[in-house]
Subunit: 335 residues, 2 copies
């Protein structure tokens, strides 16, 4: 395929990013959380090309959810300060990167993950603390003991992290108090652990969380219909472009993007120009009562959940109006 | 990574296929629908390595949902009789394959898709007929007219196809009658269209549909928890392997496969050994009341929906007991 010049040249389904909206989102976050006060989370978009835009906006420390993401970031020259904000029992590929001069820190929350860091040759860790969401992280009561155990085997403990993921979508009136209570647990752990990093938060709490030294957020760059429900300066910059391939006179039209083009855990995508009937593997059936959609028309649908949607695609096409101005490979996918 | 010898050597998350169950599924379908009575649908598993197993079981005609799937099949030497069982407005890449001696047929259901076939250089078509599911396909009343229009511009019309997808999960007592009524529409269209192909069906109706000359089924090879609800000879041959990376004394454990490793449109995956709490991007939290799960344990979860699950992975690892005996690349993904 020759390089697409306009949206009409793009194959479908394709991910399309509105450059002006993306830029506004990035600028709004960089104003609120400049430089190292934000540790953008690459799991949301899995693209080193996008990360380079964030680096240009002043952020140099990043976090990731998989070993492959960290690896890809380092290889793309983005290894100033990379945090694997997740547990892994095999970080040998990260130890090799440390040997090459990249700064890599991993989260630990157990004796086993401490042992994995040592075995893998990673020398810096954060103690991951459970701050209320039933997922990873040790009890705040155990954090100091784990830090001592990590130091005893030669690791450098940089501080703590905790993810108040259960509060991302909390109502505005309850969020501040709930985040404060959650962060009180993290601060208690931080006191026991030592170090100077208190890493927490996300797109839903970046404003409310005034206790963390750095916020781990990624969704704000492109957003989705779920995060768009929050009162924030961020807007949806990403859609899935599809072509109408069939129209039925009984009142529906079929677009060529389906379950393999979307993350569906937050429900159906949104078609801003009308009602969406249902998605199947390769198709989305749209309600078309007046026959306004014709075969060959292009439609753009907003994902319900950004991260698992982008992870289904090879690239994002960056557009300014109708012009395709860039292609960002989604190069950090898989494991 | 050196070649994994046993399941314990596999990275996680990984797709794992039980060879003996897969073989039994393939044999059961080949007994019911031998050779050309089945046109296996590659959209379910998107792997030419798997398709070669079906070819060894006697099937030589295949169908696909995307241009890229057809292209990959032809390039893998599986181009005896390939049907794009879907509409596309740009089939130029398929016309080029036809020039190379592969037999390619595409579905048409409108003047626009007829024009696209001609423009793309594809010479053989099936008329796709809507048989009750609100998706692609013309009205049975329009099928003859479309066939005439296709022939008038030089296309060879091989017959009809229709997908009774709305009946896949119908209860056994209603399925036979409902499929008969649906296929009566297709047979009426077939009479108007001519040709000798009547292509229909799927894993949920392969037994009930005795009117189609060939059945389009793919899910039967590996199955999922949704299709497993049906009374059929097929069993679940595929799981997502994950590692327990964190255990919380409050009663849960966290495995390292989440929303990016599963298709979620049929709901959560199933963990046969216990209860699953929830999935997030990189994690699945499992209920672990008695602390039986420990950090480092491996768990295997069954997908709710096969097709969009496999499309998230680069490969399937084929196992016999604990031994890893093959790797099937998922090489037909994307568009």
């Amino acid at each position: 395929m020759s390089d697409p010049a306009t949206i009409d040249d793009l194959p479908t389904p394709s991910l399309v990013v509105e450059r002006t909206v993306f830029d506004a989102n990035v600028a709004a976050m960089a104003a609120a959380r400049p430089g190292a006060e934000l540790r953008p989370h690459v799991k949301a978009f899995k693209s080193t090309a996008l990360v380079k835009e964030l680096a240009a906006a002043g952020h140099s420390n990043f976090c990731a959810a998989t070993v492959r993401e960290v690896e890809g970031m380092a290889k793309a020259g983005l290894g100033t300060d990379l945090l694997l904000a997740n547990q892994s029992l095999d970080v040998r590929r990260l130890g090799a990167l440390t040997d090459d001069g990249h700064r890599i820190t991993v989260a630990i929350d157990s004796a086993e993950t401490i042992a994995a860091a040592v075995y893998g040759g990673v020398t810096e860790v954060l103690v991951d603390v459970n701050v209320g969401m039933p997922r990873c992280g040790c009890s705040p009561d155990d954090a100091g003991r784990l830090a001592d155990a990590a130091r005893a085997v030669g690791l450098t403990v940089r501080g703590v992290m905790g993810y108040e993921g259960h509060l991302m979508m909390a109502s505005a009136d309850k969020k501040a108090g709930a985040v404060e209570a959650s962060m009180a647990e993290l601060l208690r752990a931080a006191e026991a652990v030592g170090g100077d990093v208190i890493s927490a938060g996300g797109t839903g709490t970046y404003a409310a969380n005034t206790w963390a030294t750095e916020i781990q957020a990624g969704s704000y760059c492109l957003l989705d219909t779920d995060y768009a429900k929050l009162d924030s300066p961020f807007e949806i910059a990403i859609t899935v472009l599809a072509t109408v391939i069939s129209v039925n006179a009984a009142g529906w039209a079929v677009a060529d993007a389906g379950l393999k083009a979307f993350g569906m855990d937050h429900g159906d995508p949104t078609w801003p120009d009308g009602d969406l009937f249902f998605c199947s593997d390769e198709h989305t059936t749209l309600v078309n009562p007046d026959g306004q959609l014709r075969v060959g028309d292009r439609v753009r649908m907003q994902p319900g959940h950004l991260d698992p949607t982008i992870a289904r695609h090879e690239q994002m096409w960056v557009v300014d109006g109708e012009s395709v101005i860039d292609r960002w490979a989604v190069d950090l996918r898989h494991w």
